[in-house]
């Protein structure tokens, strides 16, 4: 279980390789990589600045990661979230989960990205043609995160 909150970019291939790290009990590694898009709600985005709450961010991400490990049989996991000014195409967030079972890796990866969207203290300021605008929280993100509120099966449905 690793959480990193950093201004610097990250190397996806190197992170995945480090997570697997010569282990031979991992059957599947699921990854979600979030990138900055050049549009939002039809508006052109020149850049965005991610602000966060140092200390609490790491704490919340660690709690969300621990929750994933309690729900699925994970061998390893990693969350990296950047802050600072980012441009379209830049990497923002990386979630990696490894398990003997592919379903556990895939489900927990989706869980982590859904939860950190609504529970990690980050705020996005977008630079649009109309000036700088704080991004509003989306109902669809709340709904995606709420799906995981029900107590799920402790084991993946399709044993591998």
């Amino acid at each position: 279980m690793t959480v990193r909150v950093q201004r610097e970019d990250f190397d996806v291939g190197a992170e995945i390789a480090a997570l697997a790290g010569g282990r031979t009990d991992i059957g599947g590694i699921a990854t979600f990589l979030g990138l900055v898009r050049d549009t939002a709600g039809g508006e052109r985005i020149a850049a965005m600045t991610l602000e966060h709450y140092p200390g609490m961010t790491e704490k919340m991400l660690g709690e969300i990661e621990a929750e994933a490990h309690s729900r699925w049989p994970l061998d390893a996991s990693l969350i990296i979230h950047r802050y600072g000014r980012l441009e379209p195409g830049d990497r923002i967030v990386l979630v990696v989960t490894a398990s003997a079972h592919r379903k556990a890796a895939l489900d927990s990866c989706e869980f982590l990205i859904d939860w950190l969207k609504t529970r990690a203290p980050f705020w996005k300021l977008e630079e649009t043609d109309a000036g700088a605008q704080w991004v509003s929280a989306r109902k669809s993100d709340d709904a995606a995160a709420a799906r995981w509120e029900e107590v799920p099966d402790p084991k993946p449905k399709a044993a591998e």
């Binding site: 709450y53 979230h81 950190l116 529970r119 990690a120 203290p121 705020w123 704080w134």
Partner: protein, 83 residues
């Protein structure tokens, strides 16, 4: 008490962080927000709509009726938009 502001709350208040001496009669988050609003138009403007404000006390999410005390770190911010 240390108070932190993020995103547009920080911009409207005009500060990201301040240390305040809490009046004795402020015992919860709602009371803290009311007292802050009495401190000037920037606070009144920033804290006008409490439905748009999220709160953390000592880096844990908290509700408006959560207790606060002198040594606490309280953060006020809009709904989060990470990921």
């Amino acid at each position: 008490m240390k108070i932190l502001y993020f995103a547009w709350l920080r911009q409207r208040v005009g500060a990201g962080e301040e240390t305040v001496d809490l009046p004795d009669d402020v015992r919860d988050v709602a009371g803290l927000i009311d007292w802050l609003k009495s401190r000037g138009p920037n606070y009144r403007e920033a804290l006008r709509d409490t439905s748009a404000i999220r709160v953390a006390v000592n880096q844990e999410f908290a509700s408006l009726n959560a207790a606060v005390a002198a040594g606490d770190e309280v953060a006020l911010f809009p709904p989060m938009t990470g990921g």
